[in-house]
């Protein structure tokens, strides 16, 4: 497609651009804090101890557990609820079907604060009127994560269910299955790979969230994303900023996500054209 020299130069430059900050993160994560703070890219000694110390400095284990529980619960719930909706949107025609599909896509274009605001107000009054605490709890965060996970998972399932041939369902009906039986015994097993992808992508959206977590988490329920951002800002102006540990923690937060994406690379394009994976 491109002349050979241009191709080689482009690949080298693009890889260098892509990898330079990653290399910085990896090197800094094993550098002494002082070296990172002074912009020393090649310190004389390495500090692998950063990876030991960061767990107590940031309480990162707690944050990772919160991120995992909240994002995974929202993702699994969203996918479970999405299947039935997506099935009807793909198989049947009804009034408002196209508007429904358009709204699912259109939801990606609205600012998230527009959903966070009213939910915060509702959570606050549920607390004062009913005595159920939602602000600062994992349950409250799961509910807010559903606001983006559910439309997204529904759209992913719509695109996936389209690829399943109708004849298998017809066979099931002829053999005497009920409509729910068809969904449960035929569609769900066939759509299982799509459900895994929907769950993973919804999970990653939650894992990457900072907006909702910054308002709705308490010190005990802080997600890893929130901990890392808060830690980064608290280190500035301190006597010795713990930048080495900060970069170590960044690596810990990024690695599971990068691995998940690279493993599911084949499905990535499909998830992308469905939108939702916000830059």
């Amino acid at each position: 497609m491109l002349p050979r020299p241009l191709q080689v130069v482009s690949v080298v430059l693009l890889c260098a651009f892509a990898l330079a900050p990653v290399a910085f993160m990896l090197i800094s994560s094993v550098s002494p804090d002082v070296a990172v703070a002074s912009g020393d890219l090649f310190p004389d000694e390495l500090a692998f101890g950063n990876y030991v110390e960061l767990w107590s400095t940031l309480q990162l284990a707690n944050g990772l557990a919160n991120s995992l529980v909240v994002s995974l619960s929202a993702a699994v719930l969203a996918t479970a609820f999405a299947v039935g909706t997506a099935y009807c949107l793909v198989r049947f025609t009804f009034v408002g079907r196209r508007s429904f599909l358009r709204s699912l896509l259109g939801l990606q274009t609205i600012p998230s604060a527009l959903l966070l605001l009213p939910l915060f107000v509702v959570f606050f009054s549920v607390d004062s009127y009913l005595g159920i605490q939602l602000v600062g709890t994992r349950t409250g965060m799961v509910i807010t994560y559903l606001t983006f996970a559910l439309p997204f998972a529904t759209w992913v399932m719509v695109t996936y269910l389209r690829t399943i041939p109708l004849s298998l369902e017809e066979a099931g009906l002829i053999d005497g299955l009920t409509r729910f039986g068809v969904l449960w015994r035929i569609v769900v097993p066939l759509a299982f790979p799509g459900m895994v992808v929907a769950t993973i992508f919804s999970f990653l959206l939650g894992w990457n969230d900072v907006l909702f977590a910054s308002i709705l988490s308490s010190p005990q329920t802080r997600t890893a994303a929130m901990q890392l951002s808060a830690f980064a800002q608290s280190q500035e102006g301190g006597a010795i900023p713990l930048y080495g540990q900060l970069m170590g923690a960044s690596v810990v937060c990024a690695v599971p996500v990068v691995v998940l994406y690279l493993v599911f690379q084949r499905y990535l394009v499909g998830g992308l054209t469905s939108g939702g994976v916000k830059g």
């Binding site: 703070a37 259109g106 998230s112 759209w155 690279l262």
Partner: protein, 324 residues
């Protein structure tokens, strides 16, 4: 099989189609139905969508019309109705128009910058070569690293004593303040470019794979050079997916909260006080919920044109970006 041939061979035209009764007309991925439409199957999902998306959105519209702050929050249903006063205040004060300008400039500029990078990247890995799989994975890494990690790492690189300035020092260039003052805007563009160019790359790559091989062969027979081939054969074929990619990219950059929030903190410097950050500060740091809701809805007004263009560009029935 043998039975059928035997019967026809014998000249006995009993039944024309050998495959049983005629099939239902609606097949495949298109919507169709066999008997009945059990729409109740979508009830749980639709109800939940109503509860966590539609109701809050309606509530947000209402909040935008009342004077809701930390004092009236405890009794928010009784918050005084003030009509469009929040909208007027948002437009007259509070830097909303400035934020809209910053956000628009930022999202359009970033999209314009990442488009050529992404297209070039896709072209470099379209034809197979040794190590292509590794290069493809490398291209994806900046994009898949969580935004908050990207922002934390770049925040460190761009510190006054950070890695960028010390590298600039080596070549004898005096680095400056990248995170405050007039350079902050360009830092934001740079960091978002780094994080987002792979989006255009992936969309272009997907588009390239749909171009039939004989198009290239025809171009080769006509004796075109690579630039003519790119300009007159490949790029026109990519118009659909690229339009979609650029629209989506603009929308996402406009709504990007995490990157500027973690990169600059809140309240952000004026130069990078993008709309999502401004709304956040107004709503959750000065607790003017009504004003914040009004600002979010005004943001929607700005987004409505690219959003409509996007919805028109997407083919609802296939979810891809090909032209209708």
């Amino acid at each position: 099989m043998t039975d059928v041939t035997d019967v026809t061979a014998a000249g006995a035209h009993v039944k024309a189609p050998a495959g049983g009764p005629p099939r239902a007309p609606a097949r495949g991925g298109r919507p169709g139905h066999i008997s009945g439409r059990p729409l109740w199957l979508m009830a749980p999902g639709a109800a939940l969508l109503l509860l966590v998306v539609v109701v809050p959105l309606a509530l947000a519209v209402w909040i935008g019309l009342v004077d809701l702050d930390q004092f009236t929050l405890r009794d928010w249903l009784g918050a005084p109705f003030i009509g469009f006063a929040n909208y007027l205040e948002a437009l007259q004060t509070g830097g909303l128009l400035h934020s809209i300008w910053v956000s628009t400039a930022f999202s359009v500029l970033t999209t314009v910058v990442i488009a050529p990078i992404g297209i070039l990247a896709a072209l470099t890995v379209h034809d197979p070569f040794r190590g292509r799989a590794i290069v493809r994975s490398v291209y994806l890494i900046p994009y898949v690293i969580p935004s908050f990690v990207t922002a934390v790492v770049w925040r460190l690189i761009l510190q006054p004593d950070g890695a960028l300035n010390s590298m600039l020092g080596v070549v004898g260039v005096e680095g400056g303040n990248w995170l405050i003052g007039p350079m902050a805007f360009w830092s934001l563009v740079l960091v978002d470019t780094w994080a987002a160019w792979a989006f255009v790359y992936l969309m272009t790559l997907a588009g390239l794979q749909t171009i039939p091989q004989d198009v290239y062969e025809a171009a080769a027979v006509d004796g075109t050079n690579w630039w003519q081939k790119l300009r007159f054969v490949v790029l026109p074929q990519l118009r659909g997916p690229l339009t979609l990619a650029l629209l989506l990219s603009t929308l996402h950059h406009f709504n990007n909260f995490t990157l500027p929030f973690v990169l600059f903190g809140s309240p952000a410097p004026t130069e990078v006080n993008v709309l999502p950050l401004n709304i956040y500060t107004t709503s959750f740091q000065t607790f003017r919920f009504g004003l914040g809701a009004a600002m979010s809805i005004l943001a929607l007004v700005v987004l409505v044109i690219p959003a409509i263009l996007y919805l028109r560009a997407v083919r609802l029935e296939s979810g891809t970006g090909e032209e209708r």
